[in-house]
Amino acid sequence: MTATKTSSEGTASAPETAGLIPMNSPTYIDAANFLFTEADLLDELQYDAWLALLAEDLRYTVPLRQTRSRADQAQSVVRTMKHFDDNYLSIKARIDRLNTNSAWAEDPPSRTRRFVSNIRVYTTDVATELAVKSYLLLSRNRYEHSSMMFISGVRHDRIRRHGEGFKLVSRDVIIDQSVLGMPNLGVFL
């Protein structure tokens, strides 16, 4: 199983046991810490540091979800239209924007928290790359709002060994809403 294959299917084919790396393996631990560090950086607005974790051949996609009958579930994940369809350069351009003093939608910044759980790490057909599946619950709060905005989903990542750490090679996020409850996706998933 590979992240690419999985994500191209739109939903993971579970249970995935092939290549599953046990949680006590240093590889799993490094991968999990990579996800946690990444969450820290984004929650703490350290965009440049986060960018440094992205591979230059990055594919970053967030397909649409649609409400479809059970018989049509294959179409509940829409890939002809997306919320994100980015590569390294377009993500960098987004961060260039955030680094100006006029990216109002995130200035004042949202207060976010990225809860990462249900983490599974898999070997892939590429020796230096791992497939990582994780659940993401993103809480987001702005201004004087007394309730949190949430977005939930599953992330199918592929990460590549790079020196001591990793680079994110691809991320495909299957979110759980057809109609988003936050005014925009001015935050990364």
Binding site: V62, L64, Q66, T67, R68, S69, D72, Q75, V78, R79, T80, M81, K82, H83, F84, D85, D86, N87, L89, S90, K92, A93, R94, D96, R97, T100, N101, S102, A103, W104, A105, E106, R142, S178, V179, L180, G181, M182, P183, N184, L185, G186
Partner: protein, 464 residues
């Protein structure tokens, strides 16, 4: 005790909300529930509203569910290829007939008691035929879904609840000449890249509506980042000084539709430099084709457009415009992250969901006959510039809620939206198109026309 149709329950008259002398609009219109309900009847119950693009339902039986104003509808294509819009409410006991957003079926069966309807909304029957569970009060013919009036333009599916009002042609009026350059310029026309993005915004629909026709001025402040990162070729101050992209031609209409035409070199002077000076329309179009037009499609332009339209498309193409009351389309000339001039074509709908909410829809378009690779690049670029994760529009979607909540307080609702800066009609010599034409800096003329159209709808039938 029937209330006066043009007076709110606190005694305020509707025409007092829009001051035509000072060109002010009371902020109360952005939060008042009573006004909102009148809008649902008088505007969304009467105007032609864009619901979908025909390419979303290419085959017989295809359907999508949308909202016409605040009412759920099913947009279907019947077995003969005709498109229908029917109220998605069962005539039996009010259940939603279609619970999915899209699909394909010849028969829409209501889950609740099984009443069935055809793609054209007509009633098929109720389960256990022999028991005649549709009753003896109404004939089967009269038990179909409530139908809206449907008309297409450039593949866009318009519908209205008004069966005896103006035709879509009349509704569009003078903007058709301009919009044809975008929606009706090739043999196969546009196709939608799948279903629209949907986002709920905690704001009144008019915060986006009034902006859509066509607030050019906010670009240099709300989207200032475009300048700060040198998007418009140049750095901050210098750019503000001449604010190049702010100069062009605005066209407004009595119907409330309006657009902006901007010479592309104004926007990208630094990039285009003088390269376009003194070229013929065709030469210009080769160098900087309209978004979505690839070399293989260029020849088709002249087949579908008049010389005047081609010239305008080459020299001052429409870059943003709207359909009253709740549609904004944007045709973006801009390089993608790789520096390629790809361009993006998008359309937004602001669907009302009560006085304090609207749903923000985003469709992206490509020319059906464009190469697949171009379509993919346009998708990526459209996403970068428009819709949920847009680097530009996320600033708008964060702004609208502020306006809406500001309109709630006792002081706030007394404040006004101001449209004080006018260019005034100054149609250039030999300008080919109709409408009210304003050449120069993009000012408040167009948005004020939008409010005058709003006023016409709200006061319709009033014998002052």
């Amino acid at each position: 005790m029937k209330p006066d149709a043009f007076c709110l329950s606190d005694g305020t008259t509707l025409d007092a909300l829009i001051n035509t002398d000072t060109r002010e609009v009371s902020m109360r219109v952005l939060s008042d529930a009573e006004i909102y309900n009148l809008e649902m009847d008088r505007i969304f119950g009467k105007a032609w509203i864009v619901l979908a693009h025909a390419s979303e339902i290419p085959n017989p039986g295809d359907y999508v569910t949308r909202d016409l104003g605040q009412d759920p509808v099913i947009v279907t294509r019947d077995k003969d290829g005709r498109i229908h819009v029917s109220l998605n409410i069962c005539p039996h006991r009010g259940m939603r007939v279609c619970t999915a957003e899209a699909g394909n079926t010849g028969i829409h069966r209501c889950n609740y008691h099984g009443w069935a309807f055809r793609s054209d909304g007509s009633f098929v029957g109720a389960p256990v035929e022999r028991e005649k569970m549709h009753g003896d009060v109404f004939a089967k013919e009269s038990l179909g879904l409530v139908k809206a009036r449907v008309s297409l333009y450039g593949g866009l599916v318009f519908a209205t609840w008004s069966h005896d009002g103006p035709t879509l042609e009349e509704f569009l009026g003078d903007v058709k000449f301009y919009y044809d350059m975008l929606f009706c310029r090739t043999d196969s026309g546009l196709e939608a890249l799948g279903p629209p993005q949907r986002v709920l915004i905690n704001a009144n629909w008019k915060t986006a509506g009034e902006q859509s026709c066509v607030d050019g001025y906010h670009t240099i402040s709300l989207h200032r980042y475009l300048l700060d990162i040198g998007q418009y070729g140049g750095i901050g101050d210098e750019v503000y000084a001449n604010a190049p992209a702010m100069y062009g031609v605005d066209i407004g209409t009595r119907q409330g539709h309006g657009l902006r035409c901007i010479p592309p070199e104004n926007t990208f002077s630094a990039i285009m430099g003088g390269r376009l000076d003194g070229l013929t329309p065709d030469e210009r179009l080769k160098i900087l084709p309209p978004p979505g037009i690839t070399p293989n499609l260029l020849p088709q332009l002249r087949k579908h457009l008049s010389d005047e339209q081609v010239r305008l498309l080459a020299e001052a193409p429409p870059q943003a415009g709207g359909f009253f009351p709740n549609i904004l389309w944007v045709f973006i000339y801009a390089p993608n992250a790789e520096g390629e001039f790809v361009g993006a074509l998008g359309l937004h709908s602001f669907v009302p969901r009560g006085p304090d909410h609207f749903e923000f829809y985003t469709w992206f378009f490509v020319e059906k006959d464009a190469p697949e690779d171009t379509k993919q690049k346009m998708l990526a670029m459209s996403i970068f510039y428009m819709g949920s994760s847009s680097t530009i529009e996320q600033d708008d979607s964060d702004t609208w809620p502020h306006m809406s909540s500001n309109a709630k307080g006792p002081q706030g609702r007394k404040q006004t939206l101001k449209y004080g800066a006018l260019v005034g009609e100054n149609k250039p010599q030999g300008w080919p198109g109709g409408g009210f034409v304003y050449e120069g800096f993009s000012k408040d003329d167009n948005q004020w026309q939008w409010w005058l159209a709003y006023r016409d709808y709200m006061l319709a039938g009033k014998t002052s």
